[in-house]
């Protein structure tokens, strides 16, 4: 590839291996590296004067638009950002020629941008234009500022574009085209007045912009800004516009005699003052499991913005939720006091009374019915420490192993499949491996909407690094549209084509037998088990043409590293564990473990679903997956906790529901989960929640599940506490407290400790770090984890050894089985639990949306999200819509054997034939009223994706449930990048410093 873009998640190698000269000094350097990186490193080490640069961001790579980084190399003026280091080159960063070129370039920029830093919301010491003005010590500008003939665009709910301040650096375009790869932004270089365009037009609203925030984050000035910053960030920025304009006129009027120096100094003082009231706190996103980390800027409780910089998973990247969807933090319906059911309502009570009730009731139930009459459900949104203390409460204080978490609803089959075959149930490597794989195969997952930042790496590698992309899914989502091969197997048949491909690969001599013979047991039994899975059989069962299957098999066999990304389309079936197993078998037979750029990547859904299981909130394991029925393990925990522990596996959350209905489970404590809308077969679950004798729900809002509670406890949100999350990369990261809990809400770990101590626990944790220290003491998988090692943006990927070395890539030396080898685990295909019939003739698929998270409990509390996507809907294929006479907006009743839901139709070619797709974002008509209680055979994960329904048209024809302003209607404008060559081709462009008139006269003046 002529122009391979750099990897985003792999640091560039700067190890010196050659030498060059900079301003007369011999300097070691890395051949092939960018000159500007070397100069910046030297600046950071205080051995080099800063080289000005405006458009260059190390994470994005060069775009060559600002021209301010001009230096001389071997006597010629060049851009430092675009110059690769060659041995012996002679670099001059100072001197008249260089100075003229840099100043000329920056003068052109200032023609497009009015400097009014002191009254600018972007004056926060990180403004590139401001800082470059200072670096160049600009006294005056030669070119007068010129307004553009365009209005400010305020149409997006989250950010605004001010063309008058836009310097056309193109960072936004580059980030949109090649980092987010949404391909919405461009610049019309040939226009008389070039500007940034959305889908080639001048309005953000209604374009394909997904509000990921990349453009706003990378904008070097205030042209693109978060609306939450406007009028809030500065001391004077909330003055009326007329006043601000007058003040700006004054400054411009007095600038000639004194130059920019004093004015800039004034703005620097104002910027410094802001640090007194603007708090910047590092945190990790509370939504999906990519594990994006960033700073949250707050002014008291007001969230000014989310600023991603150098988080190891995401760098400068975010999605709409992580960047903008924080309305739930200050939502006016947050729970602030405990609530006690009182007749037909709830009343507020004090904490002491709530704890009295819990203590009394827990003790009574335990005494009358035994400890196994109580059960605990931990949260995938709460911290690792909170998962740990929840299971400790259950085991050490109450005496039961009845503890589980929502991984039961989604990820356990993936964990089972991987544990069976390769020993660890987590992602084989990191996002950096996914982006460098030769082939990415996505099965039953929609990462562009559910793991957006992770998907950006795949999109970028596919677009610019020659990565192959294959998608297997029922639905034509964005990654399917981009894929080199997209195939649509029949529902619940993935295991069949995976086995068939494995058999084909073995029979064709394409298997990596060197790897298999050295590292994998049970090959013969596995090969025999594949005998029925001929390509012809697979074609018959899956509906995928034979030549497509063989083509994909060849791609997998030939690729230099295959990463298989998978999610609920694989796991939420009766055969979910077996499908995950088949997937892992396929990777083993093709040698796609134990190497970078390969492996199995179950894409975890929640910010801490990985951690919730890792830290022991499961009925059969302690923290680190240590078995509860292992006497040695149990003895270790007993010794540390000073108690006797239950010996047998407890109930998972599916079994808890059954036990409630059977009358053996009397108390349920649910932390941070909306069970009634998350678990399958909502009516069935509802009947259990109605029946359970004592239900505690602990949450930040009054959820649908709280409606059934006897006691509701107010919990702190993620920005209101310390702790850690574990992402899908097995990456443990710190969250820091940015503000106090609201009202009398408490951090979940504090609440659990209060309860534990009322029950005789004698716990004395004063901070989550102490909990983590205990975990590390008792858990080999986390032996080296400590808050000290996790300071700031530092992270650790488990396993973490006692000396702190962690594991970005699993299986580098062996597999975690006694003989160090993995093992093939044969599976048998069993058809789905619920197939379509003459009565229920349609297949119901379901899932999330990009801009919402699950049922929308958090995201619907952000006004902008609700504005662009207020409703849920059901996707109906055009052919089915025609057959049934249904149009977009029509209300339908969808009925399954288990319940019904009323929803509006959206006719879409994302689905085909008799397959429907219902979005999850509703608590009033949740899709789980329709799903069954069938579960995965091995883990009891509900078979959410095996639901047969029928559809009845209702009389009401409503508006389109997806407003026109939503990004899904937009039309992207893909291009290779900024296309800066088009700017250079303009008649009025020349390289700065190469024309005689470029020598600007700088009036010397005294700097105050």
């Amino acid at each position: 590839m002529a122009n391979m873009k750099k990897l985003l998640n792999t640091p560039v190698d700067h190890t010196p291996n050659t030498e060059l000269t900079i301003d007369g000094l011999k300097v070691p350097a890395h051949a092939g590296g960018l000159l500007i990186d070397l100069l910046n490193q030297r600046t950071a080490a205080h051995v080099q004067k800063p080289v000005p640069q405006v458009c260059y961001l190390e994470q994005m790579g060069p775009i060559q638009s600002c021209d301010t980084c001009m230096v001389k190399v071997n006597g010629e003026l060049v851009r430092a950002c675009a110059t690769k280091i060659v041995a012996g080159m002679n670099v001059e960063t100072a001197g008249e020629t260089v100075d003229i070129a840099q100043r000329e370039a920056f003068d052109r920029i200032l023609q497009n941008h009015m400097l009014y830093c002191t009254v600018c919301d972007n004056n926060n010491q990180n403004c590139t234009i401001h800082n470059t003005t200072a670096v160049l010590d600009v006294k005056h500008q030669s070119r007068e500022y010129k307004r553009k003939p365009y209005e400010k665009d305020m149409s997006n709910p989250f950010y605004r574009y001010d063309p008058d301040q836009c310097i056309l650096c193109g960072r936004c375009v580059e980030s949109c085209q090649n980092v987010q790869v949404n391909e919405t932004l461009s610049i019309d270089w040939e226009s008389d007045h070039p500007r940034v365009l959305w889908d080639g037009g001048m309005q953000i609203e209604g374009s394909s912009c997904v509000s990921c925030g990349h453009c706003v984050t990378v904008c070097p000035c205030n042209a693109l800004m978060e609306k939450s910053m406007l009028g809030e960030a500065g001391y004077m920025t909330d003055l009326p516009t007329a006043t601000l304009n007058n003040m700006i006129d004054v400054v411009k009027g007095v600038e000639p005699p004194i130059g920019y120096g004093p004015i800039l100094s004034l703005s620097e003082m104002e910027a410094e003052m802001r640090s007194e009231r603007t708090k910047r706190t590092k945190t990790v996103c509370t939504y999906c499991a990519v594990g994006c980390s960033f700073e949250v800027w707050t002014k008291e409780r007001h969230i000014l913005k989310i600023e991603p910089t150098h988080g190891p998973a995401n760098g400068i990247s975010t999605c709409v939720k992580g960047k903008f969807a924080w309305g739930h933090i200050n939502s006016d319906d947050r729970l602030t006091k405990p609530l006690l059911r009182d007749g037909e309502s709830f009343r507020e009570i004090e904490w002491d009374e709530a704890l009295d009730i819990i203590e009394h009731t827990f003790k009574r139930i335990k005494n009358e019915h035994g400890p196994d009459a109580l059960a605990f459900i931990a949260s995938s949104k709460c911290t690792n420490e909170e998962s740990y203390v929840m299971q400790k409460l259950a085991r050490a204080v109450i005496g039961t192993n009845n503890v589980d978490n929502c991984a039961r609803y989604c990820q356990n089959p993936a964990t089972m499949g991987l544990q069976r075959t390769v020993g660890y149930g987590g992602d084989s490597g990191s996002i950096s491996d996914i982006e460098k794989a030769g082939l990415v195969l996505i099965v039953g997952a929609n990462p562009a909407e559910n793991h957006p930042v992770l998907a950006t790496r795949v999109k970028r590698s596919h677009k610019h690094r020659g990565q192959r992309l294959i998608v297997a899914d029922l639905r034509k989502h964005e990654m399917a549209e981009r894929a080199d091969i997209f195939f649509r197997p029949n529902p619940s048949t993935d295991a069949v084509w995976m086995c068939a491909m494995a058999k084909y690969i073995i029979d064709s001599g394409l298997a990596k037998m060197d790897f298999v013979n050295k590292w994998v047991n049970n090959f013969d039994a596995y090969k025999k088990s594949l005998e029925p899975y001929t390509i012809e059989y697979a074609e018959k069962i899956t509906g995928v043409p034979a030549n497509t299957l063989t083509m994909v098999a060849h791609e997998i066999a030939a690729a230099d590293g295959v990463c298989i990304l998978f999610a609920m389309g694989v796991t939420q079936h009766c055969g979910g564990s077996d499908t995950a197993t088949s997937l892992s078998n396929l990777l083993l037979v093709t040698g796609n473990y134990m190497r970078p750029g390969a492996g199995a990547y179950p894409l975890r859904g929640h910010n801490n679903v990985q951690g919730a299981s890792d830290y022991g909130s499961m009925p059969n394991v302690f923290s680190g997956y240590q078995k509860v029925d292992d006497p040695d393990v149990r003895a270790k925990f007993e010794a540390d906790w000073g108690v006797s522990l239950p010996t047998s596996t407890g109930k998972d959350n599916h079994q808890m529901i059954d036990a409630i209905l059977a009358g053996t489970l009397k108390a349920l404590y649910i932390k941070g989960e909306d069970t009634i809308t998350s678990d399958s077969n909502a009516n069935f679950v509802g009947s259990a929640l109605e029946k359970v004798e004592f239900l505690i729900v602990q949450d930040i809002n009054f959820s649908e599940t709280a409606r059934y509670a006897d006691l509701v406890l107010p919990a702190a949100a993620s920005l209101e506490k310390d702790g850690t999350f574990t992402s899908t990369e097995r990456r443990i990261q710190r969250i820091y407290k940015a503000m106090e809990p609201l009202g009398e809400a408490k951090a979940d770990w504090e609440i659990i400790q209060l309860i534990a101590n009322r029950m005789g626990g004698n716990w004395t944790y004063t901070h989550p770090s102490e909990i983590m220290d205990e975990v590390a003491r008792l858990t080999p998988l986390f032996a080296g984890v400590s808050y000290h090692r996790l300071e700031g943006f530092n992270t650790l990927q488990w396993p973490v050894h006692a000396d702190g070395t962690d594991s970005p890539l699993l299986f580098t030396e062996k597999f975690p089985f006694p003989d160090g080898k993995a093992k093939f685990h044969p599976v048998d295909y069993i058809p789905p639990s619920e197939e379509t019939s003459s009565i229920y003739d349609l297949h119901l698929n379901n899932g999330r949306l990009l801009e919402h998270f699950e049922q929308g409990s958090m995201t619907l509390r952000t006004a902008g999200i609700k504005e662009i996507t207020p409703n849920s809907w059901i996707e109906v294929s055009p052919e089915l819509a025609t057959e049934r006479g249904v149009t977009t907006g029509r209300y339908v009743q969808v009925t399954s054997p288990h319940g019904k839901a009323r929803v509006q139709v959206l006719v879409s070619d994302r689905v085909q034939g008799k397959q429907l797709y219902m979005t999850l974002n509703s608590v009033h008509e949740p899709v789980n009223r329709l799903t069954s209680s069938f579960t995965d055979r091995d883990t009891h994960t509900p078979a959410f994706k095996e639901t047969a329904v029928n559809m009845t048209l209702l009389p009401e024809q409503g508006d389109n449930p997806l407003p026109r302003r939503n990004f899904r209607y937009g039309k992207r404008t893909p291009q290779s990048g900024l296309e800066i060559e088009r700017k250079w081709a303009r008649a009025d462009y020349h390289l700065p410093g190469t024309a005689p008139a470029d020598k600007l006269v700088q009036i010397t003046s005294t700097t105050v």
């Binding site: 003040m247 947050r334 602030t336």
Partner: protein, 152 residues
């Protein structure tokens, strides 16, 4: 055991949060608060609090009015002249200014001591002396510099 109940929690009172912080504040910031009370009392007695109260309430009006007048040509000229005057003070060699002031002072004393006006011959001799020629040189340099800047 319970049927599901629809329930809307009491709307969060964000002021109550501040109230809680205020209640804790006296203990946490006792010394600073006591000093602040003294400062407040003194300012109140002098009527400064009243003025400040009014100014804060009228902040937008005040800023708008000030900026409106500052932005007029006269306002900008006045600010520039002030800045230029400040520049003069900073750019002038203090030694020269010091000498100038000593000279003015000395000449004034000498003049006061003259009983009668000097003759033309005495004036001509003084005017063509080396010292006077040196002074004239300085003054003509100033004059020609002014003329040059007016030309630009």
């Amino acid at each position: 055991m319970a049927k599901p109940i629809a329930f809307k929690p009491v709307t969060v009172d964000f002021k109550a949060d501040f109230q809680r912080k205020l209640e804790r504040a006296p203990e946490e910031h006792a010394e600073a608060l006591l000093l602040l009370y003294d400062v407040l009392e003194a300012a109140h007695e002098k009527g400064l609090l009243d003025i400040l109260h009014g100014a804060i309430g009228a902040k937008d009006t005040i800023f708008n009015t000030l900026s409106k007048y500052a932005a007029t040509p006269e306002g900008i000229a006045g600010i520039r002249n002030l800045l230029t005057a400040a520049k003069i003070l900073t750019e002038l060699d203090p030694e020269v200014l010091d000498q100038l002031s000593k000279v003015m002072s000395g000449a004034t004393k000498e003049h006061q001591q003259e009983k009668k006006a000097p003759s033309l011959w005495q004036l001509a001799k003084r005017a063509t002396s080396e010292d006077s020629r040196r002074g004239l040189s300085f003054m003509t340099l100033v004059l020609s510099g002014l003329g040059r800047s007016l030309k630009e």
